[in-house]
Amino acid sequence: MLVNLGYGAVFITALLCLYSIGAAVYGVQRKQAVWVDSARNAMLLIFPLLSLAALSLVIQLVTSHFEVAFVAEVTSRAMPTYLKATAWWGGQAGSLLFWAWLMSAFTSAVTLRKWERDREFLPWVIVVGMVTLGFFLFLILAFENPFARLWALPSGRVEAHMFAPQGATLFIPRDGNGLNPLLRHPGMIIHPPMLYLGFVAFVIPYAFAIAALITGRTDDRWIRLTRRWALWAWLFLSLGLILGARWAYDVLGWGGYWGWDPVEISAFMPWLSGTAFVHSVMIQEKRGMLKHWNMILIITTYALVIFGTFLTRSGVLSSVHAFAQSEIGPAFFLFIGLTFLASMSLLFWRWNSLKANNQMTSFLSREALFMLNNVVFMGILVICFWGVIFPLISELVTGQKVTVGPPFYERATAPLFVVMLLLMGIAPLSAWRHSTAKTLGRAMWKPFVVSLLAPILAFAGGIRLWAALLTFWLAAFVAAVTLYEFWRGAQARSRRHAEPLPVALWKLAGRNRRRYGGYLIHLGVVLMSIGIIGIEVFQTETQRTIPQGGEITLGAYTMKYDSLAIFDTADNRNAARAVVSVYKNGEYVGELHPRRDFFYDSQQSMTIPGVRSTWEDDFYVLLVDWLPVTAEGATFKVFHNPLVNWVWFGGLVFILGTLVAAWPERETESAAVTAWQPGGVHATGD
């Protein structure tokens, strides 16, 4: 039986986890490398074993074995095969296994690297990886078993158990509930894996940080070893967030992409501390400062990763994402609390060996501005965390549950986002150690003057909102500074090496991937912020019921309701699909097909907007309701979303920049090795 095979594999993996932890610790204490090697070998067995478990679950899903409770819960016969397979992470039990499987892949990958120079880290990296993995396996075995089958008890009740209860017979539903229709979207198929990849990948830098604390090798070796891991983790997390936003825009039909929902925030929080981390490790590499801070950041990120996994997978907070509920909450809290306390205790134990090699002297130096950037990210993080836990706190203190909604987050974080943009414009021009207003001003005045064009043009275009004007200026400022940096660097190189400018630019970026990748990321943020201002400040909407041939006008756009067809589709849904013609300034620009599908298996409907998307704006039409018999009248909700495409384009640039920064770089890897010395300032990199 496949379920027994899968369950058995998870069980054996859990035992191997325990063995691996024990062998690694024993090996260190006895100073016997053979035990550490044994732990490593046990760890390498885990990935194939969990792959076996995963494979048996996916086969059950694809072949519709509805006697397996998880299969019945997330799939139905009518679903296409690729959706059945990816329903693996569509429910709680499956996604825990998915998490564990990814974790095992990453720990295996990290164990396979060459360890000659870092042998003392190995056992502790194994321990941290295995403790984390073991926790998830424990959850699977004790609470959320995706292999549990449905049994009809003699009393007539149907319950999910791994093994047959006394006198029970196997219960096979004729069809499953089917995946929530809202999740049947390409964005939703890759969004959770991306988030999870990001979550899991951040465990690796954390494991090295803990290994550094335990072994006392508290120089920046752990950072150099894991900086690429951290960037990849950050890349996946960013991609997951962007895809999630796109999914919300395409599927949830409220015309927006980000609702400050607790679950969104729980994925956003590790991203915030991770962003602070990828910035501030550079200061430790360059200047040997902020060593405690980097430890705190990675420990916080790890805790938030687990917290994020927990929030998405428990019913503790009400949210549109609450697709899953269960009793794994206390276990999660206990695990987060224990690992956080243990990590912090280790940090305090090693506090004195993490003294900075240098001191900050100038407010405008690069390191001070980086520090400020960190404070801003952590400030946003604290605001988010406060908002998420405020209901729990208020209930504890006053007995009255009080929540805060999106206005809280928008109001509190907006000034910090503004400071963040400003820093993005100033920091690349400031010097390490020491900068004054004068030197900065000299470096900055050209891009500054150019950037003033943006608010002037916007003002001339009729925009009077100061918040929008300010943001447009900031966006233009960051863009100007960044492009100016590209140009300056390329020009200098072109002169030095007598290369044509484009070649010089290409080679320059290739030699300094992290720096120029980072600038590309900044440009991505600029583009996104233009889109965000567009939709946040200038979005308009209207809704009306109109007869066939009727029109709705919104701004420059007019939509005409042409017809409505209601039909059944092959995958077991009933679709109502309207045809509307769109006119812009009286000119016909195309046809849209907003629709509403009703899924028979899950008895739920799904609204699919019709969107005309251009660089200037999106015209977004929702079919809300219709008169069923005559199809003569229908209700539409219409949004005009200016500039929203820049959010997605900016996201693309952002990801591209991260790829550039994270791409393996042979030369500087060896350079980093030679530069390894406490506080060493090396010449390569940025």
């Binding site: 149907v158 196997l170 509920q325 400020l372 400030g379 605001i383 909604g405 987050y409 809300v624």
Partner: protein, 163 residues
């Protein structure tokens, strides 16, 4: 000497930033706090909470859902459910609690008016989580409506094959 002055400079700067963030949090919390009440609690407090920003949750009673697409007015009734997760679990999970709330005629109920598009998930025994205000007329005027539909294995029972 210079070291100390330098340190003080950064400490003062840091304190100012932290103070600014704390101010942002406190003032924004004040400006947008919503009281989370069960329907039971809301009705008991009555006039005391009229006009306040509230967040309530209840079980949707399917028979009462009325939608006027012309005016985009959605009305329905919700029955009180416990607000505490532990309590919900003790009573057999969310699905069971919602079912009980809907079939129990003695459960406190409140009428909800929502002026917007009818959400896809609105149906009998769904959990409605709403923010809005309680009117003098005893009707809850929702500004935001979230819905949750728990999955249940019990639904599969009538579909059993002959095995």
């Amino acid at each position: 000497m210079e070291n100390k002055a330098n340190r003080a400079k950064f400490i003062i700067g840091g304190v100012l930033i932290v103070a600014a963030i704390v101010y942002l949090i406190v003032s924004s919390t004040r400006a947008s706090a919503q009281y989370f009440l069960t329907i039971d609690e809301m009705l008991q407090r009555g006039s005391e909470v009229v006009g306040r920003d509230l967040r309530i949750s209840g079980a949707v009673i399917g028979d009462t859902i009325q939608y006027d697409p012309q005016a985009l007015t959605l009305t329905f009734e919700v029955a009180s459910v416990p607000g505490d997760n532990a309590e919900v679990e003790a009573q057999g999970g969310l699905a069971a609690v919602l079912h009980q709330a809907v079939i129990d005629p003695n459960r406190p109920r409140v009428k909800v008016v929502y002026n917007d598009v009818k959400p896809d998930l609105l149906r009998d025994e769904a959990q409605a989580i709403m923010t809005g205000k309680l009117g003098e007329d005893g009707i809850f005027y929702a500004e935001e409506l979230l819905l949750k539909c728990p999955t249940k294995y019990e639904e599969a029972v009538p579909q059993q094959t002959n095995q």
